[in-house]
Symmetry: C2
Subunit: 188 residues, 2 copies
Protein backbone atom coordinates (compact mmCIF):
# COMPACT_ATOMS: atom_id res chain seq x y z
CA UNK A 1 0.00 0.00 0.00
CA UNK A 2 1.46 3.36 -1.04
CA UNK A 3 1.02 6.79 0.44
CA UNK A 4 1.39 10.18 -1.20
CA UNK A 5 4.34 12.06 0.29
CA UNK A 6 3.91 15.25 -1.73
CA UNK A 7 6.14 17.02 -4.25
CA UNK A 8 9.59 16.52 -2.75
CA UNK A 9 13.14 15.87 -3.90
CA UNK A 10 13.37 12.33 -2.52
CA UNK A 11 15.50 9.66 -4.16
CA UNK A 12 18.34 7.40 -3.15
CA UNK A 13 21.23 7.44 -3.50
CA UNK A 14 22.29 11.04 -3.93
CA UNK A 15 26.01 11.79 -4.13
CA UNK A 16 28.32 13.79 -1.88
CA UNK A 17 30.10 16.02 -4.38
CA UNK A 18 32.64 18.47 -2.99
CA UNK A 19 32.81 21.22 -5.61
CA UNK A 20 36.08 23.12 -6.00
CA UNK A 21 36.19 26.61 -7.50
CA UNK A 22 38.31 29.76 -7.48
CA UNK A 23 37.14 33.21 -6.52
CA UNK A 24 37.96 36.34 -8.52
CA UNK A 25 41.03 36.91 -6.36
CA UNK A 26 42.24 33.33 -6.71
CA UNK A 27 40.96 32.12 -3.33
CA UNK A 28 40.11 28.42 -3.54
CA UNK A 29 36.73 27.37 -2.18
CA UNK A 30 34.86 24.10 -1.67
CA UNK A 31 31.17 23.40 -1.21
CA UNK A 32 29.30 20.15 -0.77
CA UNK A 33 26.37 19.36 -3.06
CA UNK A 34 24.06 16.36 -3.27
CA UNK A 35 21.95 17.55 -6.20
CA UNK A 36 23.77 16.28 -9.28
CA UNK A 37 25.01 13.35 -11.29
CA UNK A 38 26.50 12.20 -14.57
CA UNK A 39 24.47 13.48 -17.54
CA UNK A 40 26.28 12.23 -20.67
CA UNK A 41 28.84 9.61 -21.66
CA UNK A 42 30.48 11.28 -24.66
CA UNK A 43 31.64 13.91 -24.25
CA UNK A 44 31.49 12.89 -20.59
CA UNK A 45 29.54 15.45 -18.59
CA UNK A 46 28.34 15.98 -15.05
CA UNK A 47 25.56 18.15 -13.65
CA UNK A 48 25.75 19.94 -10.31
CA UNK A 49 22.97 22.17 -8.97
CA UNK A 50 23.83 25.11 -6.72
CA UNK A 51 21.69 27.90 -5.26
CA UNK A 52 22.26 31.46 -6.49
CA UNK A 53 23.84 33.45 -3.68
CA UNK A 54 26.41 30.80 -2.84
CA UNK A 55 30.07 31.71 -3.21
CA UNK A 56 30.56 28.62 -5.41
CA UNK A 57 27.73 29.79 -7.70
CA UNK A 58 29.41 33.17 -8.23
CA UNK A 59 32.78 31.48 -8.74
CA UNK A 60 31.54 29.04 -11.41
CA UNK A 61 29.64 31.74 -13.30
CA UNK A 62 32.84 33.81 -13.45
CA UNK A 63 35.48 31.11 -13.96
CA UNK A 64 33.40 28.72 -16.09
CA UNK A 65 35.10 25.78 -14.42
CA UNK A 66 34.88 23.54 -11.36
CA UNK A 67 36.17 20.31 -9.92
CA UNK A 68 34.10 17.50 -8.42
CA UNK A 69 35.99 15.90 -5.54
CA UNK A 70 34.65 12.57 -4.25
CA UNK A 71 35.25 11.96 -0.54
CA UNK A 72 35.91 8.62 1.08
CA UNK A 73 34.16 7.88 4.38
CA UNK A 74 37.37 9.02 6.13
CA UNK A 75 36.72 12.55 4.78
CA UNK A 76 33.14 12.70 6.09
CA UNK A 77 33.72 15.51 8.58
CA UNK A 78 35.53 17.71 6.09
CA UNK A 79 32.85 17.12 3.45
CA UNK A 80 30.06 18.00 5.88
CA UNK A 81 31.93 21.10 7.07
CA UNK A 82 32.21 22.30 3.47
CA UNK A 83 28.41 22.11 3.19
CA UNK A 84 27.73 24.10 6.36
CA UNK A 85 29.82 27.24 6.01
CA UNK A 86 30.13 29.85 3.28
CA UNK A 87 33.27 30.64 1.34
CA UNK A 88 32.28 34.32 1.65
CA UNK A 89 33.30 34.38 5.30
CA UNK A 90 35.22 31.13 5.89
CA UNK A 91 38.43 29.81 4.32
CA UNK A 92 37.32 26.21 4.24
CA UNK A 93 40.76 24.92 3.25
CA UNK A 94 42.29 26.57 6.32
CA UNK A 95 39.50 25.39 8.63
CA UNK A 96 39.51 21.77 7.42
CA UNK A 97 43.25 21.47 6.89
CA UNK A 98 42.64 20.30 3.33
CA UNK A 99 45.08 21.21 0.56
CA UNK A 100 44.20 23.05 -2.66
CA UNK A 101 46.21 22.40 -5.81
CA UNK A 102 45.59 24.12 -9.14
CA UNK A 103 44.23 21.99 -11.93
CA UNK A 104 46.44 22.19 -15.00
CA UNK A 105 43.38 21.81 -17.25
CA UNK A 106 40.78 24.20 -15.84
CA UNK A 107 40.76 27.23 -13.56
CA UNK A 108 39.64 25.34 -10.45
CA UNK A 109 41.35 23.75 -7.44
CA UNK A 110 41.78 20.04 -6.78
CA UNK A 111 41.44 18.90 -3.18
CA UNK A 112 44.65 16.90 -2.80
CA UNK A 113 43.41 14.59 -0.01
CA UNK A 114 40.39 13.42 -2.04
CA UNK A 115 40.88 10.10 -3.87
CA UNK A 116 38.83 10.79 -7.02
CA UNK A 117 38.59 14.17 -8.75
CA UNK A 118 36.90 15.33 -11.96
CA UNK A 119 38.15 18.46 -13.74
CA UNK A 120 35.28 20.19 -15.53
CA UNK A 121 34.74 23.08 -17.90
CA UNK A 122 31.30 24.68 -17.85
CA UNK A 123 29.25 23.95 -21.00
CA UNK A 124 25.62 24.66 -19.97
CA UNK A 125 23.86 26.71 -17.31
CA UNK A 126 20.17 26.03 -16.66
CA UNK A 127 18.04 28.01 -14.20
CA UNK A 128 15.67 25.76 -12.24
CA UNK A 129 13.78 27.59 -9.52
CA UNK A 130 15.82 27.38 -6.31
CA UNK A 131 18.91 26.08 -8.10
CA UNK A 132 21.14 26.69 -11.08
CA UNK A 133 22.20 23.51 -12.82
CA UNK A 134 25.80 23.75 -14.01
CA UNK A 135 26.79 21.15 -16.57
CA UNK A 136 30.50 20.55 -16.86
CA UNK A 137 32.34 18.61 -19.51
CA UNK A 138 34.74 16.24 -17.75
CA UNK A 139 38.19 16.90 -19.21
CA UNK A 140 40.05 14.46 -16.99
CA UNK A 141 39.66 12.24 -13.95
CA UNK A 142 42.45 12.05 -11.39
CA UNK A 143 42.51 8.98 -9.17
CA UNK A 144 44.71 8.21 -6.23
CA UNK A 145 46.82 5.06 -6.44
CA UNK A 146 45.26 4.02 -3.14
CA UNK A 147 41.93 3.33 -4.89
CA UNK A 148 43.42 1.34 -7.77
CA UNK A 149 43.63 -2.42 -8.06
CA UNK A 150 46.64 -4.37 -9.31
CA UNK A 151 45.50 -4.02 -12.92
CA UNK A 152 45.32 -0.22 -12.72
CA UNK A 153 41.52 -0.21 -12.60
CA UNK A 154 39.52 1.70 -10.03
CA UNK A 155 38.34 -0.21 -6.96
CA UNK A 156 34.92 0.87 -5.70
CA UNK A 157 35.43 -0.64 -2.25
CA UNK A 158 38.79 1.10 -1.82
CA UNK A 159 37.17 4.41 -2.80
CA UNK A 160 34.65 3.86 0.07
CA UNK A 161 32.34 6.63 -1.14
CA UNK A 162 29.56 8.34 0.78
CA UNK A 163 25.92 8.72 -0.16
CA UNK A 164 23.51 11.32 1.20
CA UNK A 165 19.93 10.35 1.95
CA UNK A 166 17.34 13.12 1.53
CA UNK A 167 14.91 10.70 3.22
CA UNK A 168 16.50 11.23 6.64
CA UNK A 169 19.31 13.77 6.18
CA UNK A 170 21.94 11.15 6.89
CA UNK A 171 25.20 10.09 5.29
CA UNK A 172 25.70 6.42 4.45
CA UNK A 173 28.68 4.28 3.58
CA UNK A 174 28.58 2.01 0.54
CA UNK A 175 27.56 -1.58 1.20
CA UNK A 176 28.32 -4.91 -0.37
CA UNK A 177 28.68 -5.73 -4.06
CA UNK A 178 25.45 -7.41 -5.15
CA UNK A 179 25.89 -8.10 -8.87
CA UNK A 180 27.23 -7.17 -12.26
CA UNK A 181 25.29 -4.73 -14.44
CA UNK A 182 23.99 -6.01 -17.79
CA UNK A 183 24.40 -9.50 -16.37
CA UNK A 184 22.63 -10.26 -13.08
CA UNK A 185 19.21 -9.73 -14.67
CA UNK A 186 19.74 -11.99 -17.72
CA UNK A 187 16.96 -14.50 -18.21
CA UNK A 188 17.98 -17.99 -17.07
CA UNK B 1 50.02 10.04 -5.74
CA UNK B 2 47.36 10.56 -8.40
CA UNK B 3 47.14 9.25 -11.94
CA UNK B 4 45.28 10.67 -14.90
CA UNK B 5 42.47 8.33 -15.95
CA UNK B 6 41.28 10.36 -18.93
CA UNK B 7 37.99 12.05 -19.73
CA UNK B 8 35.46 9.57 -18.36
CA UNK B 9 32.11 9.57 -16.61
CA UNK B 10 33.40 8.22 -13.30
CA UNK B 11 31.81 9.14 -9.99
CA UNK B 12 30.24 7.33 -7.07
CA UNK B 13 27.52 6.77 -6.23
CA UNK B 14 25.30 6.82 -9.31
CA UNK B 15 21.64 5.86 -8.89
CA UNK B 16 19.61 3.00 -10.30
CA UNK B 17 16.57 4.81 -11.69
CA UNK B 18 13.93 2.67 -13.40
CA UNK B 19 12.16 5.09 -15.73
CA UNK B 20 8.51 4.44 -16.54
CA UNK B 21 6.87 5.81 -19.69
CA UNK B 22 4.00 5.10 -22.07
CA UNK B 23 4.29 4.54 -25.80
CA UNK B 24 1.99 6.15 -28.36
CA UNK B 25 -0.32 3.14 -28.18
CA UNK B 26 -0.42 3.15 -24.38
CA UNK B 27 2.09 0.33 -23.90
CA UNK B 28 3.95 0.82 -20.61
CA UNK B 29 7.73 0.57 -20.72
CA UNK B 30 10.58 0.69 -18.21
CA UNK B 31 14.26 1.39 -18.68
CA UNK B 32 17.09 1.57 -16.16
CA UNK B 33 19.31 4.66 -16.08
CA UNK B 34 22.27 5.60 -13.89
CA UNK B 35 22.93 9.03 -15.39
CA UNK B 36 20.77 11.40 -13.38
CA UNK B 37 19.95 12.97 -10.05
CA UNK B 38 17.98 15.65 -8.22
CA UNK B 39 18.56 19.07 -9.80
CA UNK B 40 16.39 21.50 -7.79
CA UNK B 41 14.58 21.68 -4.46
CA UNK B 42 11.69 24.03 -5.29
CA UNK B 43 9.97 23.24 -7.48
CA UNK B 44 11.49 19.81 -6.89
CA UNK B 45 13.06 18.49 -10.08
CA UNK B 46 15.02 15.49 -11.23
CA UNK B 47 17.27 15.00 -14.26
CA UNK B 48 17.53 11.75 -16.19
CA UNK B 49 19.76 11.30 -19.25
CA UNK B 50 18.73 8.87 -21.98
CA UNK B 51 20.25 8.12 -25.38
CA UNK B 52 18.29 9.09 -28.50
CA UNK B 53 17.07 5.91 -30.18
CA UNK B 54 15.80 4.35 -26.97
CA UNK B 55 12.10 3.57 -26.73
CA UNK B 56 11.96 5.53 -23.46
CA UNK B 57 13.47 8.57 -25.21
CA UNK B 58 10.77 8.52 -27.88
CA UNK B 59 8.09 8.01 -25.23
CA UNK B 60 9.18 10.93 -23.05
CA UNK B 61 9.51 13.30 -26.01
CA UNK B 62 5.93 12.43 -27.02
CA UNK B 63 4.24 12.13 -23.62
CA UNK B 64 6.23 14.81 -21.78
CA UNK B 65 6.08 12.72 -18.62
CA UNK B 66 7.87 9.90 -16.82
CA UNK B 67 8.12 8.16 -13.49
CA UNK B 68 11.31 7.41 -11.56
CA UNK B 69 10.94 4.10 -9.73
CA UNK B 70 13.56 3.31 -7.08
CA UNK B 71 14.31 -0.40 -6.64
CA UNK B 72 15.21 -2.12 -3.41
CA UNK B 73 17.99 -4.71 -3.51
CA UNK B 74 15.28 -7.37 -3.80
CA UNK B 75 14.37 -5.92 -7.24
CA UNK B 76 17.95 -6.07 -8.55
CA UNK B 77 17.30 -8.64 -11.27
CA UNK B 78 14.24 -6.84 -12.61
CA UNK B 79 16.07 -3.50 -12.62
CA UNK B 80 19.04 -4.96 -14.49
CA UNK B 81 16.74 -6.68 -16.97
CA UNK B 82 15.05 -3.36 -17.73
CA UNK B 83 18.47 -1.94 -18.65
CA UNK B 84 19.40 -4.75 -21.02
CA UNK B 85 16.45 -5.08 -23.37
CA UNK B 86 14.55 -2.60 -25.51
CA UNK B 87 10.89 -1.74 -25.17
CA UNK B 88 10.75 -1.77 -28.98
CA UNK B 89 10.91 -5.56 -29.06
CA UNK B 90 10.33 -6.67 -25.46
CA UNK B 91 7.38 -6.15 -23.12
CA UNK B 92 9.46 -5.70 -20.00
CA UNK B 93 6.44 -5.81 -17.68
CA UNK B 94 5.48 -9.23 -19.06
CA UNK B 95 9.04 -10.55 -18.98
CA UNK B 96 9.80 -9.38 -15.42
CA UNK B 97 6.35 -10.03 -13.98
CA UNK B 98 6.20 -6.43 -12.73
CA UNK B 99 2.88 -4.56 -12.64
CA UNK B 100 2.17 -1.24 -14.37
CA UNK B 101 -0.38 1.13 -12.90
CA UNK B 102 -1.34 4.48 -14.41
CA UNK B 103 -0.28 7.58 -12.55
CA UNK B 104 -3.25 9.82 -11.81
CA UNK B 105 -1.03 12.90 -12.16
CA UNK B 106 0.99 12.34 -15.33
CA UNK B 107 0.77 10.14 -18.41
CA UNK B 108 3.27 7.54 -17.22
CA UNK B 109 3.12 4.18 -15.46
CA UNK B 110 4.06 3.46 -11.87
CA UNK B 111 5.78 0.13 -11.19
CA UNK B 112 3.62 -1.18 -8.37
CA UNK B 113 6.26 -3.44 -6.80
CA UNK B 114 8.76 -0.56 -6.39
CA UNK B 115 8.79 1.04 -2.91
CA UNK B 116 9.51 4.66 -3.91
CA UNK B 117 8.17 6.36 -7.04
CA UNK B 118 8.40 9.92 -8.37
CA UNK B 119 5.78 11.20 -10.83
CA UNK B 120 7.30 13.78 -13.15
CA UNK B 121 6.20 16.17 -15.86
CA UNK B 122 8.83 17.19 -18.41
CA UNK B 123 9.97 20.80 -18.04
CA UNK B 124 13.34 20.93 -19.86
CA UNK B 125 15.11 18.92 -22.57
CA UNK B 126 18.85 19.45 -23.04
CA UNK B 127 20.87 17.78 -25.79
CA UNK B 128 24.30 16.64 -24.53
CA UNK B 129 26.25 14.62 -27.08
CA UNK B 130 25.40 10.94 -26.56
CA UNK B 131 22.49 11.70 -24.25
CA UNK B 132 19.41 13.84 -23.91
CA UNK B 133 18.89 15.19 -20.41
CA UNK B 134 15.21 15.21 -19.48
CA UNK B 135 14.37 17.37 -16.48
CA UNK B 136 11.11 16.51 -14.80
CA UNK B 137 9.28 18.48 -12.17
CA UNK B 138 8.36 16.09 -9.37
CA UNK B 139 4.59 16.41 -8.85
CA UNK B 140 4.33 13.75 -6.17
CA UNK B 141 6.26 10.99 -4.43
CA UNK B 142 4.55 7.70 -3.66
CA UNK B 143 6.11 5.60 -0.91
CA UNK B 144 5.21 2.13 0.22
CA UNK B 145 4.22 1.70 3.86
CA UNK B 146 6.94 -0.95 4.07
CA UNK B 147 9.64 1.76 3.91
CA UNK B 148 8.06 4.03 6.51
CA UNK B 149 8.94 4.27 10.17
CA UNK B 150 6.46 4.55 13.02
CA UNK B 151 6.32 8.34 12.68
CA UNK B 152 5.38 8.18 8.99
CA UNK B 153 8.84 9.23 7.85
CA UNK B 154 10.82 7.40 5.20
CA UNK B 155 13.38 4.86 6.39
CA UNK B 156 16.50 4.70 4.26
CA UNK B 157 17.52 1.27 5.55
CA UNK B 158 14.08 -0.19 4.84
CA UNK B 159 14.24 1.21 1.30
CA UNK B 160 17.52 -0.72 0.83
CA UNK B 161 18.40 1.13 -2.38
CA UNK B 162 20.95 0.13 -5.00
CA UNK B 163 23.87 2.14 -6.34
CA UNK B 164 25.64 1.57 -9.66
CA UNK B 165 29.40 1.95 -9.86
CA UNK B 166 30.76 3.14 -13.23
CA UNK B 167 34.20 2.29 -11.79
CA UNK B 168 33.62 -1.45 -12.11
CA UNK B 169 30.16 -1.89 -13.66
CA UNK B 170 28.78 -3.36 -10.46
CA UNK B 171 25.70 -2.83 -8.35
CA UNK B 172 26.13 -2.16 -4.63
CA UNK B 173 23.83 -2.21 -1.63
CA UNK B 174 23.72 0.70 0.76
CA UNK B 175 25.96 0.43 3.81
CA UNK B 176 25.81 1.71 7.35
CA UNK B 177 24.66 5.10 8.56
CA UNK B 178 27.78 7.16 9.30
CA UNK B 179 26.50 10.57 10.40
CA UNK B 180 24.00 13.38 10.20
CA UNK B 181 24.35 16.03 7.51
CA UNK B 182 24.95 19.64 8.64
CA UNK B 183 26.06 18.20 11.95
CA UNK B 184 28.86 15.62 11.86
CA UNK B 185 31.33 18.17 10.47
CA UNK B 186 30.65 20.90 13.03
CA UNK B 187 33.80 22.26 14.65
CA UNK B 188 34.26 20.89 18.18
Amino acid sequence: MKKSIGAKALVMPTPVFVIGSYGDDGTPNIMTAAWGGICASEPPAIAVSIRPGRCTHENIVASKAFTVNIPSVSLLKQADFAGMFSGYDTDKFVETGLTAESSTLVHAPLVVEFPLILECTLIHTIELGTHTQFIGQILDVKADESIMNDLGGLDTAKLAPLAFSPLDGGYYALGEYVGKAFSVGKPA
